[in-house]
């Protein structure tokens, strides 16, 4: 059984530390009462007990990323003439994410389709994605608001991960899912996993039933076209929203961005930063015209993208992995699962 392994509890820390000598390792760290993915360091307090507040999407899709830098070079013979020189930034380090949840890993697969499976793949995303190993951990305690099982996922889902770790009584059972995942089994302290396979399977089945299903016994059905195009429905659904955009930044499947230039003296950078369709400026044109001027139109676009437009484009795949973050951390308690549930009509 070359594709599984086991790490005893007492060797877990050494295992992560060992990996961090070979690659940039990101782990969920406790900061105050928040869990965030950070580069591993011995001084960090790791926290694998609950899903991180923010998904690890920034590891592959940084919140701010330099696409290229530009330098203006004056022609020494003709001060009127300036050449511009561009330099791409396409070198990415080998990286391992340990402790993402299945919903986080599925988030990357939602990115993969528009970012890599096109005639114009995004070299920044693709480069980092290829250099990154996603080591996911079976969810041991779903949080309030989680609904992964209702959108095709599960607390032990393997989609998008290179390896899946399941915590069992004496330690961590690892299952390699890809070639990159197999490399993880070469990490320090990894023992034969065969004896723990059964325990891991039991654990995975047990957590499955702990996730609530907001869509009722019939599950997620078809969106009612009448409700979807009813402005009043959206206006009511989102009346509380304050357009803060937190839902988009914390969402593992939200991938909108902005591109801006920053310049100091004779050089500068073109930068890509996270953006969100919940912001009024997102679609504002120079003429003052805005195709989505009201917050209900913007929210309709956000929900529509995840539950209607993206599925239409990509074989019915829903672009929401049910991580529940937008529900847990929305300051106004706007609940996407409730809205989608209502969208299905009576």
């Amino acid at each position: 059984m070359a594709d599984t392994g086991f790490i005893p509890k007492e060797k877990w820390g050494a295992f992560i530390e060992g990996l961090s000598t070979k690659a940039q390792v990101y782990v969920p760290c406790l900061e105050g009462d928040t869990v965030l993915f950070r580069p591993f360091g011995k001084e960090k307090t790791l926290c694998f007990e609950r899903p991180a507040n923010s998904p690890p999407k920034s590891v592959i899709f940084p919140q701010s990323d330099t696409l290229f830098s530009f330098t203006f070079i004056k022609d020494p013979d003709n001060p009127q003439k300036t050449e511009v020189e561009l330099k791409e930034h396409l070198d990415f380090p080998k990286t391992i994410v340990i402790g993402s949840r299945p919903c986080d890993a599925k988030g990357f697969t939602v990115y993969d389709r528009p970012y890599t499976e096109t005639d114009t793949p995004d070299p920044y995303y693709k480069g980092r994605r290829e250099k990154t190993t996603i080591v996911t951990m079976t969810c041991n305690s779903p949080s309030a608001g989680c609904f992964c099982t209702a959108v095709g996922g599960s607390p032990a889902d393997k989609e998008g991960s290179d390896a899946l770790i399941t915590e069992v009584e004496k330690g961590y059972f690892i299952e390699a899912l890809t070639e990159k995942g197999k490399e993880i089994l070469q990490g320090p302290g990894v023992e034969d996993g065969k004896a723990y396979q059964g325990d891991a399977t039991k654990k995975q089945e047990a957590v499955h039933s702990m996730v609530k299903n907001p869509f009722g016994p019939k599950g997620l059905g078809k969106v009612s076209p009448e409700l979807f195009d009813n402005d009043e429905f959206w206006d009511n659904a989102v009346s509380k929203c304050v357009s803060c955009g937190a839902c988009t930044y914390l969402c593992p499947t939200c991938y909108c961005f902005n591109i801006t230039d920053e310049q100091t003296s004779d050089k500068g950078e073109r930068i890509r930063t996270w953006d969100g369709c919940m912001y009024v400026h997102f679609t504002l044109e120079a003429s003052g015209h805005n195709p989505r001027p009201t917050k209900f139109q913007r929210f309709k676009n956000r929900v529509g993208h995840k539950f209607s437009f993206y599925p239409e484009k990509y074989n019915g795949v829903i672009a929401c992995c049910g991580c529940g973050r937008c529900i847990r951390y929305c300051p106004m308690s706007v609940d996407i699962s409730e809205i989608v549930s209502n969208l299905q009509g009576a």
């Binding site: 696409l67 300036t82 230039d261 073109r270």
Partner: protein, 278 residues
């Protein structure tokens, strides 16, 4: 596609010529710094490019010179905000960045053997110009060509040299209009949609292509419907704020379609299927 390895990386071009079309529109004729690229670069009428002023940003403009005339690529820029203002400060010899071609093209193959009706307003003549010049360079492929073009005042008419030439040609009918009476103006006076109704072209075997300010497009579409043009024979181009230009950044979508990639050219039949398009 612009650059298959890195679609975000502009190619550097040098401005050869700047034409002041109107008080707030300038045309830039540019060539790639790499002379080889000028030979390998291909595009189709209707496709757009992202122009970069490094340090300021990027904006979207249609390539308004046709692929049948490859001495340079021409972009016309109406001053609207930051990037367009910075572009207006550039002169021959200056460099800028181009990511092109982006988006889809006019269905010019399907237009072969048909009568063509162009209806443009203001800077909206830019995308039409590409197709008009392309058709004039392949004149035998198309039947009657009629162009209805208007602007607010005579000085606001773009491409005055082209207009003179088209007016002189026997195989093109050009109808010019301005919104209100103007000293010395002897041609039509009135909004483009109204003039369209006066001209009342037959929908028989005809494709109508329109581009201009949203309000003009709205009434032109209504009037074309009254003239019994079928939705699939009406072609227009859409605008939306763009950044990536390759269907990722999420800015320009109408439902599941991205104006930057699936557009900017759509038939009215296609637009009626899209939420909030018209």
């Amino acid at each position: 596609m612009a650059n298959t390895i890195n679609p975000y990386l502009p190619e550097i071009v040098t401005i050869k010529n700047v034409i002041e079309e109107t008080p707030n529109i300038k045309s830039f004729q540019v060539v790639f710094n790499d002379p080889e690229r000028m030979k390998t670069f291909t595009y189709e009428p209707g496709q757009v490019g992202q122009l970069s002023v490094f340090g300021v940003g990027e904006s979207t403009f249609v390539i308004n010179s046709p692929p049948t005339r490859m001495d340079y690529l021409q972009f016309s820029v109406m001053k609207a905000g930051e990037v367009t203002a910075a572009l207006h400060d550039l002169y021959p010899g200056d460099q800028m960045g181009v990511r092109a071609p982006l988006g889809n093209a006019f269905p010019y193959e399907q237009m072969k053997g048909k009568k063509i009706l162009f209806i443009g307003g203001g800077i909206g003549l830019a995308p039409l110009r590409t197709l008009i010049l392309f058709m004039l360079d392949n004149r035998a492929d198309y039947k009657d060509i009629t162009i209805i073009y208007g602007s607010r005042t005579p000085p606001d008419l773009c491409y005055k040299e082209d207009l003179n030439e088209w007016e002189a040609r026997k195989d093109v009918e050009l109808i010019l209009t301005v919104d209100a009476e103007y000293p010395g103006w002897k041609k039509k006076v009135g909004f483009v949609p109204t003039v369209l109704n006066e001209v009342a072209p037959s929908p028989e075997d005809t494709i109508a292509i329109t581009c201009g300010p949203p309000i003009m497009i709205k009434f032109v579409l209504q009037n074309l419907a009254q003239l019994k043009f079928k939705d699939e024979n009406i072609i227009t181009t859409l605008e939306a704020r763009m950044k990536c230009g390759i269907g990722i950044c999420g800015r320009c979508n109408l439902g599941s379609k991205y104006i930057c990639k699936d557009g900017p050219v759509f038939s009215l039949a296609q637009l009626k299927e899209l939420p909030g398009a018209i």
